[in-house]
């Protein structure tokens, strides 16, 4: 195959990635369940099947390194799922290590494959060689050969395992409408899971009609026949039979069920009572295809789309929005004219419904781009496990909000900063077990990883219960590194001091350990988060722990913008970065070290005049000094106020790339069209903030508190 396709296709890569992720999820769940005591054998089987698929996939597409590793793992996992190998912590470690190895291989594929490390392969082989043949297999005499003959090796193993545990065996016979079989099976599955293990589904061909299918479902359970029948809850068309083997396991539980040698199968049968009579011909679903036509060609329910195609659609929607805004202006013109009132009213009605449809369309496209954060969280869970072990600290990771969704691009970009923060928690935050014990804390450290939606933003919190940060120590380090003058530093409050951890190269420890990742610190995290138009806040209590909160926009492609005016020019500010807009009077502005600031709820807020930054001429118009608008924008841990003349309102805008002439202008992120067909510039908040933060003698001191006249929006 490799000869024909040249190099592995993107379909191969994306599927292999999915398979490895599902493998990893099964392992994490196994690990968690194992710690709690017992684990669901289905998880091991799922892990085996993932690796089995990966092996087939990679061999077909000529990815030899992946194929080699999955081949080695397959026999180990086969031994594990068949109970020939114990699921030891060492075995789990090896499996987790393999996930990392697969991911490395997938990342470097096409750039010269790296073969799996021979030590990893050797250890996997060594583990597999410990496989013991299960010679205690119970005879399955009396079990209908029509069942036994078609079980897979694994299903047969589960059957024996259920018997070994002294469970009874039931055969549930159910009839399903072919078109709705998935749903029917799902319902039945969830009902049966409560009672025991579904060993297999055996389809039988003697269904009453072409539109239905009969299944025999083999279940191992501790429950009695009556309990199972009741549990089926009158599921239409089902009957339950207990299967009694001629010789059962020697467990005492088995003695309770008398064996019947003469009639091995079907000791007693109870028909479940259907809640409603089963119609001979089931009610036809509305969309039933004509027999023989090819509606089944694509049963798969998903389509994979490149992000760039979605971007294109997104741009078109943005442009449609502009067209719509233009139509609105035309409507205004129409209304101003005499004799067109009826036409205007009609047009307005159409426009309104177009507006609704347009926003639905926009929402639809945005939804398509959304992926759950669980993708990243799973990765982090593996990191926690690995790093905790390396640092010899026991870590309990609590994850919530895995299903919170964010734009695919943002989720991709988040993984590195979150990884770094988790590393910091384990390396610097959480104390060694003994130290924790002496402090009266639980030996196991705790990290909480939470995600939740807050308005149209998503908040991700990383919180540990470790030693917290000493803000005095941070202040001293900041002075030592020349980030702030000694005298000035004493004026700073705790929140401002803690913010220094985001300064480039800042670290309070002289040597970063192996775990924390040398040289890279929170400044990189901050940069990454800023690039996503996100904000990061930190809250720490010495001795109690630290919490980082990252606030992110849900998507980057279409943004909501605040349209403002200054010196007669119009600009857009990404609403993601806007915290609030306030109105101030000129006299509230004080000057500190040559820079203008206001005081907002006790915090000093540096101001930036847009007209000065962009060298705009007010053309004789004087500013209304009693009515200045300040738009407060935040990026990472910084907050500044942009002084503007007017706030014109909010709009959804699509960012368009800039022409060459403007690309070099700092403070401008792009251009966009707003209503009326005008092209306006979109401000780049990050460079504006940078401008303020890096200006000379930036040390702010608290300004006298003033009453705020007005707080808008």
């Amino acid at each position: 195959m490799s000869g024909e396709s040249g190099r592995p296709s993107s379909e191969f890569l994306s599927e292999a990635q999915e398979v490895v992720e599902s493998f990893s999820r099964s392992l994490l769940e196994l690990d968690a369940q194992q710690r709690r005591g017992d684990y669901d054998p289905d998880l091991l089987n799922a892990a085996f099947r993932a690796i089995h698929s990966l092996k087939g996939l990679s061999s077909l597409f000529g990815a030899s390194a992946i194929s080699e590793l999955s081949h080695a793992l397959e026999s180990t996992l086969d031994g594990l799922r068949l109970g020939k190998l114990p699921l030891s912590p060492a075995a789990l470690d090896l499996l987790f290590e393999s996930v990392e190895a697969f991911q490395r291989m997938l990342a470097t594929i096409g750039h010269g494959e790296t073969p799996p490390r021979s030590t990893l392969l050797a250890r996997i082989d060594a583990l597999a060689s410990e496989t013991v043949e299960d010679d205690s297999s119970l005879p399955l005499e009396g079990l209908d050969d029509s069942i036994l003959g078609v079980l897979t090796e694994y299903e047969e193993h589960r059957l024996r395992e259920n018997l070994r545990l002294g469970r009874r065996l039931f055969r549930v016979h159910a009839s399903f409408d072919l078109l709705a079989i998935d749903k029917g099976i799902e319902t039945l599955k969830s009902k049966m899971k409560a009672f025991g293990e579904v060993i297999t589904y055996l389809p039988s061909a003697d269904a009453s009609s072409e539109d239905r299918i009969d299944l025999d479902i083999l279940i191992g359970s501790d429950a009695s026949l009556t309990q199972i029948v009741e549990g089926m809850d009158g599921e239409a068309g089902t009957s339950v039979t207990e299967i009694t083997l001629s010789r059962r396991s020697p467990e005492p539980a088995a003695a309770a069920a008398p064996a019947r040698a003469a009639d091995p199968v079907a000791a007693k049968a109870v028909e479940a009572r259907p809640t409603a009579p089963v119609p001979e011909s089931p009610t036809e679903p509305a969309v039933e295809p004509a027999p023989g036509d090819l509606t089944l060609r694509s049963v798969s329910q998903t389509v994979r789309v490149e992000l760039s195609r979605l971007d294109h659609l997104m741009n078109l929607i943005g442009e449609l929005g502009v067209v719509q805004a233009n139509l609105e202006s035309t409507l205004d013109v129409l209304r101003a004219q005499a004799g067109t009132a009826d036409v205007a009213r009609e047009l307005r009605g159409h426009l309104r419904s177009m507006d609704r449809k347009l926003s639905l369309l926009q929402q639809g496209i945005l939804d398509v781009r959304m992926v759950p954060l669980g993708q990243v969280f799973d990765k982090l869970a593996r990191v926690v496990r690995k790093l905790g072990r390396e640092a010899e600290k026991e870590i309990r990771l609590q994850i919530s909000g895995s299903d919170t969704e964010l734009d695919k691009l943002i989720v991709e970009e988040l993984s590195d900063p979150l990884m770094h923060m988790i590393r910091n928690c384990i390396d610097h935050g959480i104390e060694p077990p003994l130290e924790r014990k002496n402090l009266g804390k639980p030996m196991a450290g705790r990290i909480d990883l939470r995600a939740f939606q807050k308005g149209n933003r998503v908040v991700i919190e990383v919180e540990d219960d470790g030693r917290g940060m000493d803000w005095r120590e941070i202040r001293q380090a900041a002075v030592r590194k020349g980030l702030v003058a000694d005298a000035a530093s004493r004026e700073l409050g705790m929140p401002e001091v803690v913010d220094f951890i985001f300064a480039p190269g800042f670290t309070t420890r002289d040597s970063a350990t192996e775990v924390s990742g040398r040289g890279v610190g929170m400044d990189v995290v901050k940069t990454n988060i800023s690039r996503l138009s996100g904000m990061i806040d930190v809250d720490t209590t010495l001795g109690r722990g630290t919490k980082f909160s990252i606030t992110l926009p849900v998507t980057l492609a279409i943004i909501q913008a605040l349209v403002i005016q200054t010196a007669g020019r119009t600009y857009c500010i990404p609403l993601n970065s806007v915290l609030e807009s306030i109105m101030v009077q000129h006299r509230e502005i004080t000057t500190v070290e040559g820079h203008e600031v206001i005081s907002l709820r006790g915090k000093t807020l540096p101001l930036l005049y847009l007209d000065r930054i962009f060298d705009l001429d007010h053309q004789g118009a004087t500013r209304d000094l009693d009515r200045l608008y300040v738009v407060i924008v935040g990026l990472a841990q910084h907050r500044i106020g942009l002084v503007v003349d007017e706030l014109l309102g909010q709009q959804d805008v699509v960012i368009k790339p800039l022409g060459h002439a403007l690309r070099a202008v700092p403070g401008i992120a792009g251009a966009t069209e707003i209503a009326g067909g005008r092209t306006v510039l979109l401000l780049d908040v990050s460079t504006l903030v940078e401008e303020v933060v890096t200006r000379p003698e930036k040390t702010p001191t608290p300004a006298p508190r003033k009453e705020l006249v007005f707080r808008g929006r």
Binding site: M1, R49, G56, F61, V150, P203, S300
Partner: protein, 128 residues
């Protein structure tokens, strides 16, 4: 005239690969499904000249599917080609016992696949 092939395989990329082989060959039309249940659903609604199936699938395995096909009047005689990575696995043996016509181990080339297909199509009695 084109004939229908039912392809049962849970890997999307493998499905795409087999389908492209069959479509390039020209004489086959492929109905792809990704698991045993979908295969059960597809069977009564089509008239298949060949069934190609993976062995290792959740819930309804290739073995169970094979037995089902052999029991159903409509497709009882259809050639069944089992594809799997592990030729030595006991499950392959079980699938053959349940009535599969031939087995082909992954990885295979387009030529190997088409040759096996041609063989089970033309002289099924030799392979049984």
């Amino acid at each position: 005239m084109t004939e229908s092939v039912l392809l049962v395989e849970d890997s999307r990329a493998v499905r795409d690969f087999v389908t492209s082989i069959l479509e390039q060959h020209g004489a086959y039309e492929v109905v792809e499904v990704e698991n045993g249940f979908d295969a059960l659903r597809a069977l009564p609604r089509g008239d298949y000249a060949v069934v190609v199936t993976d062995v290792n699938m959740p819930d309804v395995s290739g073995i169970e599917l094979t037995r089902f096909i052999r029991q159903s009047p409509k497709h009882a005689k259809v050639p069944i080609l089992v594809i799997s990575t592990d030729a030595m696995h006991p499950d392959v043996d079980r699938a053959m016992k349940a009535g599969a016509t031939a087995f082909l181990a992954k990885p295979f080339t387009a030529d190997e696949f088409l040759a096996t297909l041609a063989k089970i199509r033309t002289t099924p009695q030799d392979d049984a």
